[in-house]
Symmetry: none
Subunit: 230 residues, 2 copies
DNA sequence: CAGGGCTGTTACACTTCTGTCGCATAGGCT
DNA sequence: AGCCTATGCGACAGAAGTGTAACAGCCCTG
């Protein structure tokens, strides 16, 4: 099912203050947030809200996070929902157990809110395009996120990993201008510190790749602002 | 309110040397910096300057950074301003997080200035993403902030960055007369030292660009007052 | 461990934009 | 009309933004 609009997140955390801060940040990030403070409610809300992603505290009264996770990953209809586990303990044992229960990612408290946001987005990105099965198209460029292939006309293009992510980002909103900072954010990840000029270089490489069999340059440079497709 | 120009940062740090270094770097990075060396002044300056982001030292005389943060996050009108907390040691970050002051990010001293800049920019981006998907229109001129494109009739116009920002400003309130000083403020940014006559020149350039395919002059000169659209 | 592909940075050339000046012209006032 | 000030506009040097090649480091794979 291809859904648009705000991605829905189910936030399960028993500590009210932490939950509030996280909810605030998630909402600022563009998520529609549903909150639960225990595992039982969480199980119900998964049904009702059908979230795109779940952020789950490990330690909770009644039904623990790990138990919620295990149950959800057992049921076929909820298995596909990415789960990020929050844990207070850093021991490797926990990490392994968390992943064994099927959590898709794992963040240790105290975490950087930014990091958590980045991971949530990454999970979402991972699940969304493929479940949607959408092929992105713009003019004569076709991009299949599932097979990781890019076509121009009837030719298959060869792109590097960064070029690919860059193109995905641009193609998700053709025409929109992305600043170098936004692109760093979306393509490289928000907690990576890379010179903004690097974006230029990769855009250059992407251009070259897109035109490897000829054709016009589909990437528009907006001086003083950034880059856009078309 | 859609603001353009330099992002404003309120830097609150009681140690003069550190404050100076940071202010210097922030300014070099394009921020308009307001400084405070204690929490009380900070609270006042938040009102007066309405900053886009606050960088806040944790340890300070009188009102501590934590307290400032807590107060600001409590009030709806200031809650949206991102706050980056500076803390002296890693363990303290835990405590700050434990206190749930609601800071948006934390940076541990000694920090890399580069990192702090990156985080500040990231926060700014998070809050001020883009002027919503609205297309500004006035008579036969259409301006799409997202794609950074300007049309007159069915022709795409080519504008320079300053001309574009100038036009955005004028189109946000068609008919309103903006003084040269206001335009400098809105388009160039707060404390940029530029001759007011420069506005004339850019208005001239904007006029030329808007009429590059013919058409009437949509910009009205109000002698002794400024410029307006229509 | 050598080779290849990819990445991030840097340097340089090139283009476009910017701010200021000087002078022409228009508008308003007495 | 005559005067004075505000505005328009072309020119220009310097600044800023951008494209690209070159390079060194990294992580693979064979």
């Amino acid at each position: 099912m291809a859904r648009s609009g705000q991605p829905r997140v189910l936030l399960v955390e028993d500590e009210p203050a932490q939950r509030t801060v996280l909810a605030y940040n998630l909402e600022a990030e563009g998520f529609a947030v549903t909150q639960a403070d225990n595992g039982e409610d969480a199980m119900v809300l998964v049904e009702e809200e059908d979230p795109d992603i779940i952020i789950l505290d490990w330690m909770m009264p009644k039904v623990s996070g790990i138990e919620v996770c295990r149950r959800l990953k057992m049921r076929p209809e909820t298995r596909g929902i990415p789960i990020i586990m929050l844990s207070a303990r850093a021991e490797e044992v926990d990490r392994i157990r968390g992943l064994e229960t099927g959590a898709d990612d794992y963040v240790i408290k105290p975490y950087s809110v930014l990091e958590l946001m980045a991971r949530a987005r990454a999970q979402l990105r991972r699940v969304r395009p493929s479940t949607a099965g959408v092929v992105l198209e713009h003019e004569d460029i076709r991009l299949d996120p599932e097979s990781h292939r890019v076509y121009r006309g009837d030719k298959v293009l060869k792109l590097g990993p960064t070029e690919f992510k860059l193109l995905v980002t641009l193609m998700e909103r053709p025409g929109r201008v992305f600043s170098r900072e936004q692109l760093l954010d979306l393509v490289w990840g928000r907690d990576i510190y890379v010179d903004t000029r690097t974006v230029d270089v990769h855009v250059g490489r992407l251009r070259k790749s897109l035109m490897q069999y000829g054709g016009s340059d589909p990437v528009r440079t907006v001086r003083g602002a950034g880059y856009a497709l078309g």
